[in-house]
């Protein structure tokens, strides 16, 4: 695997800002396919922003139809 940088985001806004700031970055969530592709040199991120610890487990209905995945879990 190529060397890469790794960061754990403290919250969703920070994670989005970090990934927006670097074109070669990517979110790391579940990661099974992503890590496989990184290890095979198919994906070549310079930075992975780990969002696994963020409380993004909810699913919400959107007004007008559709679903929003990764909504913050209800308290």
């Amino acid at each position: 695997m190529r060397p890469l940088s790794y960061a754990r985001a403290a919250d969703a806004d920070t994670a989005i800002a970090m990934v927006q700031a670097r074109p070669d970055s990517a979110f790391l969530a579940g990661g099974t396919t992503e890590v496989d592709l990184v290890r095979q040199d198919v994906l070549r991120p310079g930075l992975l922003v780990d969002i696994n610890d963020l409380p993004l487990t909810g699913v919400a209905d959107l007004p007008g139809g559709g679903l929003c995945q990764g909504r913050p879990a209800p308290p």
């Binding site: 190529r2 060397p3 790794y6 790391l28 990661g31 890590v35 496989d36």
Partner: protein
């Protein structure tokens, strides 16, 4: 920028914990199944750095130290293996399956663990024995 070993290589090559097995190394066979905070993961597709601050449990740490875990004993009793290479992953998944409450659909919830020797009938029997000894269907 650093090289980022997967959890499986960190366990086997750096920590000397060789109970978790490397087979396909791409998340297909499940021989590398371990737990992170009690949840099963494929160690070959988990970057070790993502486990910092989390609790990793391998087959070496499954028993409380006083003897075999009941699932390990059950696999022996039921002869639930042939070559044994997939067995650590099978057992880590099997224990997790019961914890998750999926004992009623063991074929589906063990489907991430492939056994090339096809010991499936005995693997499922071993799991059901432990389930029944623990008080039946959960």
């Amino acid at each position: 920028m650093r090289r980022r070993p997967c959890l499986l290589d960190a366990l086997r090559e750096h920590l000397g914990l060789t109970g978790s097995k490397k087979d396909c190394d791409q998340g297909t066979y499940g021989a590398c199944t371990v737990w992170v905070d009690g949840r099963r993961v494929l160690a070959c597709l988990t970057l070790a750095v993502t486990c910092e601050g989390h609790q990793v449990t391998t087959i070496e740490g499954l028993s409380d130290g006083s003897g075999l875990h009941p699932m390990q004993a059950s696999f022996i009793e039921r002869d639930a293996f042939q070559c044994g290479y997939c067995t650590p992953g099978q057992i880590m998944s099997a224990v997790a399956l019961l914890e998750e409450g999926h004992a009623g659909d063991d074929a589906e919830w063990m489907s991430g663990n492939i056994c090339r020797c096809a010991a499936y009938p005995n693997i499922r029997a071993a799991i059901r024995d432990v389930r029944d000894a623990a008080g039946g269907e959960r």
